[in-house]
Amino acid sequence: MPKTALQFGATAENLPIIRHFVRTHLAKVVLNSVELNQITVAIEELCANSILHGNKEDAQKELRLELSVQKGEVHAYLYDPAPPYDIHSYPQEPRLLRADTTRPGGFGIYLLRCFMDEIRVRRRKGGSSLYHLVKRLSSVPEGC
């Protein structure tokens, strides 16, 4: 599958557009609906973190999501103008409720780590970040 890209502003209004983009481009490659949903959730959680926390819902901040499939692996790249955070530093198991607030915490990163085989985070020149997610597919149509 050739690389496809979606550019979007850092607003939660764009979350359905991100999901639609992911599903549309992976539906022919990821045949299992639960697996397709898991990849969609993982990518959306990453984007939601960048939108809500990294960029504080500033619609003027532009993010870029790239998708490609190579040798049975889905690759998702998120170019984020905000500085990177260390996804791997979060606890393995989410706390159902954080002690300091009534809001649940840690679910999104937990799902992201459950569903993706590799997560790479890189600081880019100027302090922005690049997140690279890799998912090895359980079954792959011929030619992917």
Binding site: N37, E45, Y110
Partner: protein, 106 residues
């Protein structure tokens, strides 16, 4: 997401049908609607969320369900999910919500 609330039964049960996707954008609307429902029905005992048409659940949606359990349980109101699709059940199960909320598959 469309939220449809049925009239409460004499036994204090109310069915709420969810149609669409529960994410960071729509989850606060669901919480607001359910909180309003609880406030308007002092004799409420159980909220049954019918999820046959709930096609997507993100961590924000799961978080709101957990908040509902946390806030409604002390008031004696139980939450139950019915007709949950496999994609949504997979998320609830991974996050441990299947141990806290009675949930049945579609």
């Amino acid at each position: 997401m469309h939220i449809e609330v049925q009239p409460a039964s004499a036994a204090g049960q109310v069915q709420v049908s969810l149609d669409g996707e529960l994410d960071a954008l729509t989850a606060p609307k669901l919480y607001e609607r359910l909180t309003q429902l609880v406030q308007q029905n002092p004799s409420l005992k159980k909220i049954i969320l019918s999820c046959q048409r709930l096609t997507y659940l993100s961590s924000a949606g799961a978080g709101i369900l957990l908040m509902c359990v946390d806030n409604f349980s002390p008031k004696g109101i139980a939450l139950e999910l019915t007709q949950v699709q496999p994609e949504v059940y997979n998320i609830l199960d991974l996050l441990g919500l299947t141990k806290l909320i009675p949930i049945n598959h579609a």
